[in-house]
Every structure is written in C-alpha cells, then in structure tokens.
Amino acid sequence: MLSMKQKEDTRSTGNGTLIFTWIALLLLTGLTVWIAGVNTDRHGVAVNIIIASVKAGLVLFVFMRLKYESLFFRLILLLIVITLTAIMALTFLDVLYR
C-alpha cells in the first residue's frame, strides 16, 4: 500500500559480518571435501547436502540480506522449499513403488 511504503533500506551489513560469513563458507567447503574423502558411503552424501544447505542459508540470510527483509520473503522461500519437497516426495512415490 502506498501509505505503508518503506523508505529505501539503508541498513548495511557490517564488513566484519561479511568477512566472517565468507570465512565460514570457505571452511564449510573444506569440511565438505574432507568428509567426502574419508566417508565413502551414502551417509557422506547426506551430510554434504546438509552442509550445502547451511552454506545456502548463510548466503541467503547474510549476503542476500534476507534477515533484513520482510517476513513475506522468508515465507515465500519456505513455500518454495515445501513445493520442491512435495514434488520430490510425490515423484518418489511413483519411482520407489513402481
């Protein structure tokens, strides 16, 4: 609504936070490669996907400033995750029980 229009968002993430996030992302990448090296079964893959999701979360919330955005954006992100999960689940209902 026009009356509710916010002013341009001037909050800026401190460079310290950005650097910290960057280093965390690099370390998590290292961790993921290390896990793939030592753990060769499918658990390793699952753990690596979880680590990837943590990394994606960091990028989304810090770099993409989702923590500053309105609740609406986060809800839609949730909606997308639910949508993708539902599609995967229903497709596997076919693939696994065929």
């Binding site: 609504m1 026009l2 229009k5 949508t83 539902a86 497709t91 076919d94 029980y97």
Partner: protein, 532 residues
C-alpha cells in the same frame, strides 16, 4: 474528465504508439488482439479436424497431416489462447484499475512479456513452414516418440519455452503490483474477486511455469545432443518427462480456470444487484484450488505405468479439488437467490459458463477415479471433458468477461439482441459439437486418429454439424463486438451499475486511470456509492 488513454500516444505515431507503449491498458488491448488472432487460427484448425472426422476414411487430409493438425490445435489453443487469454488481456487492463493503481509495478517488463508472447507465437507458427514440418506428437510432446520424430518438435518446444517466460514475467508483475500498489484503504479483503483470482493465478504462473521451462529445455537438448534423460535406450525414464510435464501442466489448468471463475464471481453479484455471497469463502477456495492443484498432476498418468501407490494418492487428492470448485458454484447460486436478477448479455454468458463448466467438472470426477479412468483414458471422453472445462469453462468465461468489460475498454456498447442470439447459438452448437464425444469415448473411440470404424459414424457426423453451428455463433458474437467499436452507442461510465473501482472512472479510462489515487472505505461489492 481528462483525456482518455487512446489519445495519449506518448509522442509516437500510428502502430508504434501501441507496440512500444508501456501503458497497461494499451498492452492489455495488444494482448487481446493477439490472443484472439491465435484463437481464430486454433478454431480454423479445429474445424478442419472435425471436417476430417465427418466421415470414416480419408475425408480431407491424410493421417500424417491430421497428427499435425491436432498437435498445432492443442499447442496454439493452450499456450497461446487459453493460458494467457484472461490474465494477460482483461487482467492487464483491469488489475490496476481495480486496485486503484496507475499502472502495474513493472510497465516495461509488461511490454517485454507481450513481445515475448508474439515472438513465441510466430516461432510456433513457423514450424509449419520450416523443414521437418509441424510437430505430430500431440501437444503433450511425450517422449520417446517426440525424441525420434523428424518433425519440428524442438521449434515447438522453444515456442512454448518463450511463452512460458512471458507468462512468468506477467505473474511476477501482477504479484508485485497487488502487494505494493494497492490504493490506500484497499485492504486484502476489499480487493475485488477478479483481482483475487488474478493473484492466485499469478502464483501458479510463477511457481509452475519454471518446471515446464526446464522440461522443454531438456527435451530440446535430448533431441539436439542425445542426452538420454527420457530415452529408455540410454537408461532414461520417459515417465520422468510425463511427471515434469504435468507438474506444470496440471496447475496450468488453474491458470486457465481461476481467472474465469473470477470473472463470473464479479458478474453474478453485479447483475443480482446484491453483494456477493461468501466473499471470503470464494477467496479461500480460489487459494486452495491453486494449492491443491499443484499436487494432483499424476491423474494424467494412471495408464502410463506409474506405481499403484501413487495412482491412489493422486486420485484421492484429485477428488479433494472438487470441493473448493463446488463451493464457488454454490456461492454464485446463493448470490443470485432472492436477488433482483437482470438477464443482460454478460449474465447470459455466465449462465452458459456455469452449466458447461459443471458438466466438465462432474465428468472430471469420472476421470479422477482410477477404475473408470483406465476405461476412458485416451478416448474421446477425455476430449469432451477437456473441452467442456476449458472451452465451455475458460473460453465462455472469457466471452463473458468481454461482454462485461468491452464497453469500459472502448467506451461503446454492443447490440444486446445480436449478442443474445450469439450466446444461444454458441451454447447449442457447443453441446452438439462436444456432447457426442462423451458417447463416442464411452463406446471406446480413441482420440488422435483420423479414421474410425463405421459404427462411430453417426455421432461423429452430428459433432461436425455442431462445429459449424458453433463457428456461426462465434462469427455473430465477434462481428457484433467488432461492430460496436465503430457504430456502438456511447456506453457511459457505468452501464451495468458495477460497484468495483473501474466503473467509477470514465469510459474509456483516462490515461493515468485516476486523477487522484482514491481512498477506499468500503468492500468491493458494497452498494454504497461514491468512492472517488
């Protein structure tokens, strides 16, 4: 009143003042003409198909040409008429007017959508003239055949890919517009129902179309490089194409039908001179149709060799979709109950819609039960069901919307007598054309064949006669509407005594819609006057 938007050429001359304009009203009209153009092509192809099926054996075309006819008919009608039809033309024109905005959120993106739509349409048509010829796979483009056929499947897939992009851009434009540009006081539950359905539709467009885009791209790559994703010879699974295809294409059905329901939900209260019955129930049923519609795609694959478990689950959820659709029909009827109903052309078309769509919906239940589906899958029963929902439903709602809103768009009124005659002819022709198909399907006549055994002759013959009556109805209707542009009487600002915002501005609307952004103090169907 100030100048109407036809006079605002933004300094451009002639046709350029249209095809380069970012005014949502001009773009809405551009879409309207383009969409009707493709509809005309689709109708002609449809008539040719009926002519071929008029008698057993070869009548006018051979088997190969018939395959191309039904493929092109499907591609053009679905991707270029019925999906963009209402949202892009009427939606574009009326969405900002209904919420008290000057334009959509991204006017240039809006123009880009139209251009992409036109380019996609030309790409689809060009497959007819390019080497390889038009596709012969059916509009669903199922592999493995679509991988092997030498016809122009890739060109068709590319066209659908581009038009999908156009659809996504329209969707995200509408969502942003509705979230951000509503006039002060226009709360969510003061939004007109047409806007609400455009909102639900926009979400489906945004959430489902990308899946179609990647599916078509993968099909193109499959044909170009032999990636093997859908090719059983390389370990790929053709059923994965069907899954991906219907993950989009079932929700797309709701892109077609939700705005149609929105049109009807506005017209019924206007001509009953009452506020709508169960406003919130209609809103939430629209949203739940959009949500449930996302997880029922498997009902197109009952006979494809999908697992039994998933068939049962998909069948069950499909039955659930009937509930919110039923709620809407109930609300429309309850709105008319004890209202002072005036039967003017828009309401007449709305009646035709409700009747035809109900038949389409009820026969949908026959399809959604696995046991009966196995019997009628791939027969003319499906063709009939589909046309009752999509043509009798979405198509007739589009005509309804045109009769309701064209006087606002052009400022001219059409002839009531002619449009009443057209509606009756259309209704009769429609039923003569499509009802025999239910019988044919039930007797086991498969679709997509140019020939049939003699025992199916009678119903096919009747159906073809029906197609001519329907075509006559279309002719009367469009001539009458076109004539109104030149010879129609001035319609006045509010010919139907409508209550939503667009009826409070002049006809045709002024160039920036409102001289001053209105302040909204009442619900959309409240009969208190004067908001502007």
């Amino acid at each position: 009143m100030g100048t109407d938007f036809y006079m605002n050429t933004e300094g451009r001359k002639g046709v350029l003042s249209w095809i380069l304009s970012t005014d949502h009203k001009r773009i809405g009209l551009l879409y309207l003409y383009a969409v009707l153009g493709f509809f005309l092509i689709g109708v002609i192809i449809g008539l040719l198909m009926r002519l071929e099926l008029m008698a057993p054996g070869r009548t006018i075309v051979n088997a190969r040409a018939y395959d191309s006819l039904f493929t092109l008919h499907g591609i053009i009608m679905i991707f270029f008429f019925i999906i963009p039809g209402v949202p892009s033309s009427l939606g574009n024109f009326f969405l900002p007017l209904q919420i008290g905005a000057r334009d959509v959120a991204f006017p240039r993106l809006n123009l880009l959508s139209w251009w992409l739509y036109v380019i996609a349409g030309l790409t689809a048509i060009s497959t007819i003239f390019l080497p390889g010829g038009p596709p012969d796979t059916g509009w669903t483009l199922y592999p493995p055949y679509s991988i092997k056929t030498p016809t122009n499947v890739s060109g068709t897939a590319l066209a659908a890919f581009i038009v999908g992009f156009s659809s996504i851009l329209t969707g995200l434009n509408f969502i942003t517009t509705i979230h951000r540009l509503r006039a002060p006081g226009m709360t969510w539950f003061r939004m007109p129902l047409f806007t609400w359905t455009l909102y639900s539709t926009a979400w489906v467009q945004v959430l489902a179309t990308p899946v179609l885009a990647i599916t078509l791209l993968l099909l193109i790559l499959e044909r170009a490089f032999g990636t093997g994703f859908f090719d059983p010879a390389k370990g790929g699974d053709p059923l994965m194409f069907e899954h991906l295809f219907w993950i989009y294409s079932h929700p797309a059905v709701y892109v077609m039908i939700l705005p149609a329901m929105g049109i009807i939900s506005e017209i019924v209260p206007t001509f009953s001179r009452k506020t709508v019955f169960g406003y919130k129930a209609i809103v939430f049923s629209g949203l739940s149709i959009a949500t449930l519609g996302y997880v029922v795609w498997g009902h197109h694959m009952f006979t494809s060799g999908m697992s039994d478990v998933s068939s049962m689950v998909f069948s069950f959820i499909t039955f659930a979709v009937a509930v919110p659709s039923g709620i809407k029909v109930f609300n429309w009827i309850a709105t008319m109950y004890k209202g002072s109903v005036e039967i003017k052309p828009p309401l007449l078309y709305a009646f035709a819609f409700i009747f035809l769509f109900s038949i389409g919906g009820l026969t949908g239940l026959v399809n959604s039960a696995v046991a009966t589906n196995v019997h009628i899958h791939g027969t003319f029963f499906i063709v009939a069901h589909f046309h009752y929902t999509m043509f009798g439903g979405a198509g007739f709602a589009f005509f309804t919307g045109l009769h309701y809103r064209l006087p606002k768009m052009t400022g001219r009124m059409y002839n009531f007598r002619a449009s009443t005659v057209a509606c009756i002819v259309l209704f009769i022709g429609f039923n003569i054309l499509y009802f025999p198909m239910f019988l044919l399907g039930w007797q086991g006549m498969p679709r997509r064949y140019y020939d049939y055994p003699p025992e199916f002759h009678g119903n096919n013959f009747i159906s073809t006669i029906g197609s001519w009556i329907l075509a006559a109805g279309l002719l009367i209707m469009f001539i009458n509407l076109a004539r109104s542009l030149f010879k129609g009487e001035k319609a006045g600002n509010n010919p139907w005594d409508g209550t939503t915002l667009e009826w409070q501005v002049s006809s045709p609307p002024p160039q920036e819609n409102f001289e001053k952004i209105p302040h909204i103090t009442r619900g959309p169907y409240s009969r208190e006057k004067n908001i502007l």
